[in-house]
């Protein structure tokens, strides 16, 4: 015990006598460990954020848009003539693989309440829309059948819209104006946060489909909808749901065999898995960068240790000449290496976690701090430091004292 204490004292003395060497060694480990923790936190954070925002769209979701898939989903959806009708959505309800379906009309519009006004996206749909998007009401109630069928002017506000127009006041039963017409607020949606693309999902207003078709969308395309959202019974039935929708719509739109579809069906699960793959690759990429940092840190440590090997070998020779045994010399160097690497590793982890939290706070990038990379960073940096810290000591302690003393 006294020997351990003595050697601990010697190790600390040697470290403070060689501050630069101690600092550079620790620095290699700090950089390596910090990089691993930060990079992995970034990678995993992105991955969970993406998965979360995809699942926030709704589970087992299928989206049907106007325009052919070959034209490209974007152009078809945005610029093509609307080919989907309310009746198409109605027909989808009979498909066995589908749980429910909701026709959707979307239109940007200005909302006014007293002196406040706010521009937002108006969604015209049915109650099924809430179910499909796994969206609950924070207060109020959904549409009644009468409201939906007869196109009454009622609205359910997203959180952001409610806040912008009403502040902390209760919007229920108040009247807001959308394009000059008054709408009665019957509900407020629960908060959903940012979407994957960074847009605010709570910046929306839901009104009955029929109301939207009559009041907002031009009379040119009466009875058409921008898209149909459908929910399959289960993840397993997504593919069959997709096929059933395509068959049914081809039939209803009288599309000849071999001709292009005038609609496209998107399976959100396949997009989710693609995104998961991409973010997985991102994680691997960041992990590799971190691994390289760790390696570079390790090589830095090795370099410093090798440079000091002559000095250390002679030092060991002197120590053995005045009475140190192999074991005590090794013990001293082991303690020294352990202290440097563990404190370096801990500092690196603290810096890595700090940087990750900073990136999250000020860069707005999601991070996930998990124990595995921290343990990995700590383990690897400690092993690297121990190995390269002990290597010269082991070599020197194996020599005869006179050889270590003469070492050039």
């Amino acid at each position: 015990m006294t020997l351990w204490l003595s050697m601990l004292g010697e190790a600390l003395q040697a470290m403070s006598a060689n501050k630069l060497r101690t600092f550079l060694t620790a620095l290699g480990i700090i950089i390596g460990a910090g990089a691993v923790v930060l990079m992995v936190a970034l990678g995993q954070g992105t991955q969970t954020a993406v998965t979360k925002s995809i699942s926030a769209l709704g589970s087992n979701l299928l989206i049907v848009r106007s325009g052919s898939a070959q034209q490209g989903g974007f152009r078809g959806g945005a610029g093509g003539l609307p080919t989907l009708k309310t009746s198409d959505a109605q027909a989808l309800l009979d498909l066995t693989s589908l749980n429910t379906a909701a026709p959707v009309v979307q239109q940007g519009a200005q909302l006014v309440y007293g002196p406040n006004n706010w521009g937002t996206q108006i969604v015209g749909s049915t109650d099924a829309y809430l179910d499909i998007r796994d969206w609950t009401l924070q207060s109020g109630r959904p549409f009644t059948d009468t409201e939906m069928n007869s196109g009454m002017r009622v609205a359910i506000l997203g959180q952001t819209v409610a806040e912008q127009l009403f502040g902390s006041a209760d919007p229920i039963d108040q009247s807001v104006r959308i394009q000059k017409s008054p709408y009665q607020v019957i509900g407020v949606l629960a908060q959903k946060g940012q979407s994957m693309a960074g847009s605010d999902q709570d910046d929306t207003v839901l009104i009955p489909l029929v109301t939207a078709q009559r009041q907002l969308v031009g009379s040119q395309f009466k009875g058409t909808v921008s898209m149909i959202m459908a929910k399959a019974n289960s993840a397993q039935q997504l593919a069959s749901g997709e096929a059933q929708i395509a068959d049914l719509l081809r039939q209803r739109h009288r599309i000849a065999e071999g001709a292009d579809d005038d609609f496209s069906v998107t399976n959100m699960a396949s997009i989710a898995s693609t995104m998961a793959q991409i973010t997985g690759m991102l994680s691997i990429l960041l992990g590799s960068i971190a691994g390289i940092s760790l390696l570079v840190g390790g090589i830095g440590i090795m370099n410093i240790m090798m440079v000091s090997v002559t000095e250390r070998t002679r030092e060991i020779g002197i120590r053995m000449a005045i009475g140190a045994s192999r074991k005590t010399v090794l013990l001293q160097f082991l303690l020294e290496a352990v202290i440097i690497t563990t404190t370096g590793g801990l500092i690196g982890i603290l810096i890595g976690v700090g940087a990750a939290l900073g990136v999250q706070r000020f860069g707005g990038i999601a991070v996930a701090i998990t124990p595995q990379p921290i343990l990995l960073a700590f383990g690897v940096s400690t092993l690297v430091g121990l190995f390269f810290g002990l290597y010269p000591a082991r070599k020197a302690s194996m020599m005869k004292p006179i050889e270590a003393l003469r070492y050039q």
Binding site: I318, I322, G323, S325, K400, I402
Partner: protein, 236 residues
């Protein structure tokens, strides 16, 4: 068997790339406790090789070395370290101090390996540093003091464990004549005060007379072993 050191038929052959190099060719030497012996001889005659064997820093190729009644060849690594720690003190030509720690820490270093508590170590180190005339420099770093002073520190480090034998390989080799003579006087005084056995290698005939007994080496054999004064006359 009252000898503190007894060498019998000691041979040392270095294995080099150019083949084996015999350096010591069967030395016989006995030294009684408290003796002050100088070893002389031309360069390459094997003085340092002999000292390293005596100091248990190196092992002979063959022959027996009895130190304080023990056969050194029979000692394992741990016992050898203990012998170096408790029985021997070594003073090198090149001082071999640790440059980054102060004088008192350098002198206290051998006591670390005897597990002496820190306060006690430093106190003993300072006492010995005072003895060698460095009371005012105990907190200096070795590179900041002169060569003669560094050698005094090395001597203090050898003395601090109160060893039975002090071995010094050309302790004056890096010093000017006056400083060298001061160091030799210090050895003489220490030898008289404490009765420690003193073995000093030197090149310089002028410092040899500090010892009573002189051993002369040539080609790995002892060619003279007797009174230092007689040897001086033989030279003259």
């Amino acid at each position: 068997m009252s000898d503190i050191i007894r060498l019998a038929a000691i041979k040392k052959v270095y294995d080099t790339d150019a083949g084996p190099v015999p350096v010591l060719n069967g030395l016989e030497l006995s030294i009684a406790p408290g003796e002050f012996v100088t070893i002389m001889g031309p360069s390459g005659s094997g003085k340092s090789t002999l000292m390293n064997i005596l100091g248990c820093l190196d092992t002979p190729t063959s022959g027996e070395y009895w130190l304080d009644g023990e056969n050194v060849a029979s000692l394992d690594e741990d016992r050898l370290a203990e012998v170096r720690s408790r029985v021997l003190g070594f003073v090198f030509q090149g001082f071999n101090l640790l440059p980054r720690i102060d004088l008192k820490a350098n002198v206290a270093l051998p006591l670390v390996y005897q597990c002496v508590a820190k306060a006690k170590r430093l106190q003993r180190a300072i006492t010995v540093l005072e003895r060698v005339g460095l009371a005012r420099q105990v907190n200096s770093l070795p590179p900041k003091i002169s060569g003669g002073q560094q050698q005094r520190v090395a001597i203090a480090r050898a003395l601090v464990t109160q060893p039975r034998v002090i071995l010094a390989d050309e302790p004056t080799g890096n010093l000017d004549t006056v400083t060298g003579q001061e160091i030799m006087t210090l050895f003489q005084d220490i030898n008289k005060e404490s009765g420690v056995t003193m073995i000093v290698v030197t090149h310089d005939a002028r410092v040899a007379h500090y010892a009573r007994r002189l051993v002369y080496l040539r080609d790995g054999l002892i060619t003279y072993d007797g009174s230092a004064a007689d040897f001086q006359e033989a030279l003259a």
